[in-house]
């Protein structure tokens, strides 16, 4: 067998910026509602029911978490869906944000 010099193939150690994780489906974000002294408890419950189509007991559970603990993680979602929910909650003037679930 002829001793042919083969090109050396090195592992690709450089980050491929084009192929980022599929954030469209990655449930890597949490939607959080934060406590404030201005939004009414009944109103917050109503908004959770409307935005997430939750039954009243679940909506009340999260409203009480916001009230007693200062915040509640409402859902874990993809970037796109988390943005959608934050927008819906902020439309009702709730203090809501999305954060990377780390």
């Amino acid at each position: 067998m002829a001793n042919i010099a083969m090109p050396e193939v090195m592992p690709d150690l450089e980050r491929d910026e084009k192929s980022k994780p599929d954030s469209a489906n990655d449930p890597g974000y949490v939607v959080i509602c934060w406590n404030d002294p201005v939004n009414l408890m009944d109103y917050v419950t109503h908004v959770f029911q409307t935005v997430f189509a939750w039954q009243r007991p679940k909506a009340e559970f999260h409203m009480k978490q916001v009230h007693n603990l200062g915040k509640s993680v409402l859902v874990r979602e993809s970037l796109e869906k988390a943005e959608h929910y934050v927008h819906q909650l902020q439309k009702y003037s709730l203090h809501a944000t999305m954060e990377r679930d780390e």
Partner: protein
């Protein structure tokens, strides 16, 4: 503001004359929350582009709600004079944007008061009295609307 009846997804509310005037006064205040007040994330710096999109979406929403308000206030058929007051019909969908509008007025006036942790005391002679009154009135109407929705659930 009192729920009289619900028929075919239309909620009929009764207002006294002064109550109606206060209700219209509150709606005319909308929007009160400053634009770009809301942030998408506590780590907002990492999401500049998304923040811009959120600001645009909320601005569009405010514009739509403002149009709803103006239409409601200028439509002579919306309030029907009856006896010592007036009656107003709203669909469940209209109640949703009405709740958003009233809460904007409530939260916006709270922001104007400096976002106090404690419920501000009402002193009619104090400089902040208009803001405190607007907050209280908005919450009263909000509770009436929420009770109406609960009543029909």
């Amino acid at each position: 503001m009192k729920l009289l009846r619900v028929e075919n997804d239309r909620y009929c509310f009764q207002f006294g004359h002064r109550e109606k005037a206060l209700f219209e006064f509150l709606l005319r205040l909308y929007p009160v929350i400053p634009s770009a007040h809301q942030t998408l994330s506590k780590a907002a710096a990492r999401m500049d582009e998304n923040q811009k999109l959120l600001d645009e979406a909320l601005a569009e929403q405010r514009k739509e709600n403002k149009q709803h308000v103006e239409k409601l206030l200028t439509d002579p058929r919306r309030f029907k004079e009856k006896g010592a007051g007036a009656e107003m019909n709203l669909s469940a969908g209209e109640i949703e944007w009405m709740l958003q509008v009233l809460n904007d007025v409530r939260v916006g006036n709270w922001i104007l008061l400096g976002s106090p942790e404690e419920q501000p005391h009402f002193d009619p002679k104090a400089e902040n009295a208009p803001y405190v009154i607007a907050m209280g009135l908005a919450s009263n109407f909000q509770m009436d609307l929420l009770d109406a929705l609960k009543h029909n659930a």
